[in-house]
């Protein structure tokens, strides 16, 4: 037996030294970099898309200013680039990612899940989207982009746009799969909250229509890269090939989540169970189906605007909106309103959307001659994106206690809603009226530019209202009806403890005031 002279030293345990010298092991921004927690990813998506939203509205405003005679801030050489990036940013850097971020945060909570489906894919989607967005901006800054001059940056634009759209599609797969597969026991698909249902419809439609845009981008990129052997990559043909994604009927596809926000806010803030829920869900799905516009590509089919399907969809898009408004009207009549920024935003968000629907119906009436001028379609896009902005403000006011555990400043929230609403009606209305003019009016263009400034201010005020927030009154400040309010605000890791059985679309109302049949 070997004899040792000294007692062996106990093995030293290598301890991890906190390099930041703070309470948490890593600062929150470092934790965010590698996080696959749906709440972190959702917050990141929302935050960055709101920042891009302000920039997008400013760019749309600058492009609109150029239409006023003798006003030339940007210069004729670059105006088309500003025009195209403003549209791209409005949709792919603001509207779609904002709602996806909100859904990544909220949908798992609304359906009683502990996480989102494919959390790492959702994280990858966010970072890829951010990379694509940055590359898109760089490509435009390098005098590329749609309408640009330099060849390599133009190629980079299409690459960046493709990456951005693919990232959004990946996030859409995560959200849609969550709604379909991860619902709490007893929560039937027709009992999911309106926002979750709207996101299922929206993501399904995005997954069916945006890949067609990817196909367009691929053809343009390859053709342009190869020296334009065909007409796909020719400068003047590039925007006409992708413009269908910003015109009716496709433009309405970005507003589907607006209907979900309105549905959840109205039912909760008026304190009633939504009646005729099946009809409401069907109407929302019908709105989604009627906004599928990947087939309506005027570049490849010049007569598409005169075809019966296009005309029919132009009128029919109004019907589900009226059905939904009727349902919410019934709820409002029966309930007692709680007036705040969320309620005001939810109700006012429907006005620009309804105006966009009416314009789409007018647009397909050939004798009105709106199709020969671009302003009506600009107006529809601005009205739809304006509706997204107002609904976004409402959603932030409503769900901020859940997301940040703080209540946003109600006064600033009101201002954000009013600025967004006023801006969208002013800008959208002016553009649509301009569509009826033979020559565009400087007054109307000026009004549109002013409205667009209001819209940028609306997004900015929403952000400021979140920064000027106060402590949340409770975990459930609105007496919510749906599962996201059944946990603390913000929710702990894993979201929920044990949930009681879910038996209806308003489980929290069931648990608070059990119906006789539930008790039995």
């Amino acid at each position: 037996m070997a004899i040792t002279e000294t007692r062996p030293e106990p093995a030293t345990v290598e301890t991890h030294v906190n390099p930041w010298g703070q309470g948490d092991e890593y600062p929150s921004f470092v934790q965010s970099l590698g996080s696959s927690d749906h709440k972190t990813i959702g917050r990141l998506f929302c935050g960055f898309s709101l920042a891009f939203g302000v920039a997008a509205w400013v760019l749309v405003g600058l492009a609109s200013l150029h239409d006023i005679e003798d006003v030339d801030i940007i210069g004729s050489d670059h105006i088309f680039q500003v025009f195209t990036i403003s549209r791209l940013a409005l949709v792919f850097l603001f509207a779609v990612p904002f709602f996806l971020g909100l859904a990544i945060y909220l949908v798992p909570l609304q359906i009683g899940a502990s996480t989102i489906a494919f959390p790492r894919a959702a994280a990858a989607a966010f970072w890829t989207w951010l990379l694509g967005a940055v590359l898109l901006i760089i490509s435009y800054a390098a005098n590329g982009g749609i309408g640009g001059i330099r060849s390599n940056p133009i190629d980079l634009t299409y690459l960046a746009l493709g990456v951005t759209v693919m990232a959004l599609l990946l996030a859409a797969v995560c959200v849609a799969t969550t709604v379909v597969t991860l619902r709490a026991p007893g929560l039937r698909l027709d009992h999911v909250p309106m926002f979750s249902w709207a996101m299922l419809v929206a993501t399904s439609l995005w997954l069916l229509s945006l890949p067609v845009l990817l196909a367009n981008l691929l053809l343009i990129f390859v053709d342009h890269r190869l020296g334009r052997p065909s007409d796909f990559g020719v400068g003047l043909n590039q925007w006409p090939q992708v413009v269908w994604a910003f015109q009716q009927p496709q433009v309405f596809v970005y507003a589907i989540p607006v209907l979900g926000v309105v549905g959840d806010v109205v039912a909760t803030m008026f304190g009633v169970r939504q009646k005729n829920r099946g009809v409401m869900l069907a109407a929302l799905a019908a709105f989604g189906i009627l906004s599928f516009g990947a087939w309506a590509q005027g570049f490849f089919n010049e007569e598409v605007a005169t075809q019966w399907l296009y005309i029919g969809m132009g009128f029919a898009i109004l019907l589900p909106m009226f059905a939904l408004l009727g349902g919410w009207g019934t709820a409002m009549r029966e309930g007692k309103p709680r007036i705040n920024a969320a309620t005001a935003g939810a109700l006012l968000a429907m006005v620009p959307l309804l105006l966009a629907g009416l314009t789409s119906a007018l647009y397909v009436i050939e004798p009105l001659d709106l199709q020969t001028r671009p302003y009506a379609q600009y107006g529809v896009l601005v009205l739809v994106a304006g509706s997204v902005t107002v609904a976004g403000s409402a959603a932030l006011a409503y769900w901020a206690p859940k997301i940040w555990g703080r209540t946003p400043n109600n006064g600033l929230g009101f201002l954000a809603v009013l600025a967004g609403f006023g801006g969208s009606v002013l800008a959208g209305g002016a553009l649509v009226v301009n569509g009826f003019q033979t020559d565009s009016s400087d007054f109307l263009n000026g009004a549109a530019a002013a409205g667009l400034v209001f819209l940028a201010g609306g997004v900015l005020l929403s952000v400021v209202s979140l920064l000027a927030r106060g402590p949340a009154e409770s975990d459930d400040p609105w007496a919510g009806q749906t599962l996201e309010w059944a946990t603390s605000s913000p929710p702990p890791p894993g979201n929920f403890g044990e949930l009681a059985p879910v038996m209806s679309a308003e489980p929290l109302l069931d648990w608070r005031d059990p119906q006789p049949e539930d008790v039995a």
């Binding site: 489906a117 494919f118 599609l169 859409a172 797969v173 995560c174 849609a176 799969t177 379909v180 597969t181 991860l182 993501t203 399904s204 997954l207 069916l208 229509s209 945006l210 890949p211 067609v212 845009l213 990817l214 196909a215 367009n216 691929l218 053809l219 390859v222 053709d223 190869l226 020296g227 052997p229 065909s230 007409d231 796909f232 990947a294 087939w295 490849f300 089919n301």
Partner: protein, 197 residues
Amino acid sequence: MAATHALPPAPPVQRPRVLMVGTAFASAATVMMFAGLLAVYLSRRAELIGAGDAWLPDDVSLPLQQPNVMLFTMLSSAITVQWAVYAVARNDRVNTYLALGLTFVFGIAFINMQSYLYTLMEFDITANQQAVLVYVISGAHIIMLVAAMIFVALMAFRALAGQESRRQHDGVSAAALFWHAMVVVYAVIWLAVYVTK
């Protein structure tokens, strides 16, 4: 001796088929991308033929023999990938590996034949819109097929690690679903690009 009774088999585990549903959404998106590409191809071809011209230039030929072999290969791979699902659902690991391996080999064979077809076509990609469309459609299909092959290979490794079994074989089923989508897409490409030219 007391009579013994065999217990009934345990009921299948009730679990959300997350990967299957996610793959179904991804497959639908992929199919729509090809629908977009093929729609452009068909509309451009109809436009040209309607104007009284031929779609393919005189010095270009798109042979049918190789596309036929490729279609046969894809249809065979659809059988082998479904064989893998059948085998893994019965805990038959040998047949699962064999079927997934064969599916992967069919994928390589398809890409090999597509490459050979490119050399036969003598179709310069920078020549005209027909060339751009043919190469973009077939090239995009190859890229998606490679993605499907990676998916199949990953599931084969998971099966080797024992993570795919009778009680849990969503991975293999999901890979098969995406593979079937690629087979369907190729069948449409075969008809639209190589048969009705």
